[in-house]
Structures are given as structure tokens and as C-alpha cells.
Symmetry: C2
Subunit: 227 residues, 2 copies
């Protein structure tokens, strides 16, 4: 029997590559995306296209109340910083940090996994390029896994929940190379924190800068439309 | 300076008593409630009345996507079991179990705590009367606390997040006695899984049976309106 897994899919490079890895490992993929705030509607369209093209078993999109809690440039109206140096990005927790975001996302994934009878969850977090996010660190993922195993019926029955974070120690360039090997069409993905209404990327926010550098270092063409 | 805490408030006996305990311990209370599924709208009205009467700093109500995930009598249209014996209740995970519910609730509380700069979260879970729920056990709470401390900026700065579960080892009777000592008006609370549209409790679901027994054992009058 094919094993099922829930994969968090934002529509960016990392989550799309993670989906490709889960499928290559033989999991039937249940993709989970979230609608919150204003800035990410285009990401959601990207996620929809990716889920369809990559033929996931099911794609669930949940509207969640992150905006109401606020506290971040992605959900509040704080200005997204532009043209920061690598050093500036690395030196602090980005203002685009959304409080407890991965914890909330993983918790919905855990709920869906429990309903599906799945014990595997995939998340495309990355500790290399986003070192400022506390919830992208390996020790956080391990602690989440421990908690998740205790939180569920599967745990009571002696099974473990596994949180797969296959990109956690990879550079953006290695992620892109891996995805290209697996046939990912990165033209479907969107990374920009501040795209224009037509989906053209700004080219200057942290996420765009990291993406550009990743493609350059991977020696691959960046299919992104920049404005 | 008064310390702030986020308190999960469902509108039932346990969460209302927990709020009273947090306030007695000197915390400025930020109450958090959730709207999901159809059955709990009356609970939410109860939560609103309680938050107002107990003068919390702020009461946030979040609409969350638990219904779409399903898997439980509280969110699906499965029939709520009635008139079960103590033994039947204790022998299995109740069908009213909502997958990963406490994990999702605590994750929103964690997000709000981070925005508020609070490091304390209160949850009214109870391992005595609800032994069938995996996410009401002390080991689960400790694992959540570890994860939460790693998930947040506070954790990176060396602070711990504390999940207070002051009722976890109390019987329902002791909880009620404690709440009455603190002046809680249990006439404002609702426990029933299956109330009629006027808010009258069914008197026969697990939650009603536990509530009735609790008041009887506490030697106190049950102010609930049963139909």
C-alpha cells in the first residue's frame, strides 16, 4: 500500500521541491496550503497550479486567522525591506517573520495527517538561507516531532509522527539543483514578498534576492518574471 | 509591571476556572476563543459573556479551518454518543475527539503571546475526566512547552515559554470547588456537546454527565439549564 504524507505547499521554491522529494520517495501526496493576509494570494494561485501539475492526491486550502494576530510584514502593512545585504539579512530576525507560523502550519498538517491515518509530514524549511527564523532550526523540528507523537492517537498506539524537512541543511542553489533533477518547473513557483498585481516579482526583497542568487549559483536560468 | 498571559477560553467549566486562576495569580488576561464547526456557537456566546464579566484585557475570537479537516463528532455530523457509563467513556478515545485540536489552539496562543511579548499560556486541559484524549496528558504539555520555547524569538533570546495547565490533575469536583472559591459564576458556562438552539443542555452527552457528576461530588448546585 502506498504511504500517504501531508506536504505543506506555499507555492515557493522550497515547498515545491519538497513535494517533488516526497513523491520521489513514494508517498501519496496530500498538499496543504493556507490563505492568510493580503500579500500571498498570488502564492496560492501558484500552489494551485503546482498541485495540479504535480498530480497530488488532494490539495486543501485553509483560510486561517493569522492576519488577526498580526505582528509581521507579511500580514500587517509594515513595509517589506528591499535590497538588503547578505549580512543585514543574516544579522536579525526578519520583519517578515510571522509569529509561530510554522507551528500553526504543522499543527493543521498534523490534524489532517491524523484524519488520513498518515504519519509523515513534509515541510520545506531551510536553516541555511533563513537563519533568522527560530522555527526553521533542526532542533525545533525535532521538538515538534516529539510533541506531535504525543499529541495524537497514533502516538498513544506507539507510532511516531515524522516531520520530514529534507531541505533543512541545503543551500538555495542545492535545492534548485535537486528540484531540476526531479523535473520541477520553477516557472510555476513564486518567491516574492511584494509582487505586483500581475505576479511580477519585485526583485529586491530578501526572498527575491535569495532566489536570484540561488539560480545564479546553481548555474540555472531563473524563469521568474521580474518587473 | 503586570505580566500578560494568553488564556484559551472555550466557555466551559475548565477554561473559565483556568481564567480565574490566571487572574488570581496576577496575570493580565488575553482570552482567545475559536469559531469552528456548527455545534460550538453557543459556547462562543458563553465565552464572550465570561470574558466581559471577568474583565479580560482583550478577547480575540478566531475563525479557524478545523471543519474542513473534519474527523470528529464536533465538526462532522456524526452523532454525539449519549448516556455512556464511566467505563465506556474511559475505555476509548471519544468520537468527540478533534484531531490535534489542542495543538492548533496552543499554536495560535503561541503566536499571540509572541506578538504581545507574553511568555505564559494557560490551557484548561484535564487528564482525569478526559483520559481518552492524547493531547490532555502532562507529557504532551511538557513536550509542547519545549517545542514552543524553540519556536519563538523569546526562545532564541534564552527565555522559556510556559504552558500552564493548572487543572491537569484535578477532578471535575475539585475544579468546580476551586472556581467557586474564586467567585466563578458557572451559570455563564456551557459544557454540552449537543445543546438545543436555546442553549439548554442535553444532559446525556459525556460532557453533561461529567458536569452533573462534578457538581454533585462538589456538593454544589448546578446552574445549568437542562432541557
Amino acid at each position: 500500500m502506498t504511504k500517504s504524507a501531508v506536504i505543506l505547499l506555499s507555492g515557493g521554491i522550497d515547498s515545491t521541491t519538497t513535494l517533488a522529494i516526497a513523491q520521489q520517495e513514494g508517498y501519496a501526496a496530500y498538499a496543504l496550503s493556507f490563505l492568510y493576509g493580503q500579500r500571498h494570494r498570488l502564492e496560492l494561485e501558484a500552489a494551485r497550479n503546482i498541485a495540479e501539475r504535480m498530480q497530488v492526491k488532494k490539495h486543501m486550502i485553509l483560510r486561517i486567522g493569522l492576519d488577526e494576530i498580526g505582528g509581521s510584514a507579511l500580514t500587517d502593512k509594515i513595509r517589506v525591506p528591499k535590497n538588503r545585504t547578505d549580512r543585514e539579512m543574516a544579522s536579525s530576525i526578519p520583519v517578515t517573520y510571522v509569529p509561530a507560523r510554522n507551528t500553526i502550519f504543522l499543527s493543521y498538517a498534523l490534524a489532517w495527517a491524523e484524519v488520513l491515518g498518515a504519519r509523515d509530514i513534509f515541510i520545506g524549511v531551510n536553516a541555511m538561507d533563513y537563519s533568522g527564523y527560530p522555527d526553521c532550526r533542526p532542533e525545533y523540528i525535532r521538538a515538534y516531532e516529539n510533541m506531535a507523537s504525543l499529541a495524537t492517537k497514533a502516538g498513544i498506539e506507539g507510532h511516531r509522527i515524522t516531520i520530514h524537512a529534507p531541505l533543512i541543511q541545503l543551500t538555495k542553489a542545492r535545492i534548485i539543483q535537486k528540484g531540476l533533477e526531479l523535473g520541477v518547473d520553477y516557472g510555476l513557483t513564486i518567491s516574492c514578498y511584494d509582487p505586483d498585481p500581475n505576479g511580477n516579482a519585485c526583485g529586491a526583497c530578501d526572498s527575491c534576492l535569495i532566489r536570484k542568487k540561488g539560480f545564479a549559483e546553481a548555474g540555472a536560468d531563473d524563469p521568474t518574471r521580474y518587473r
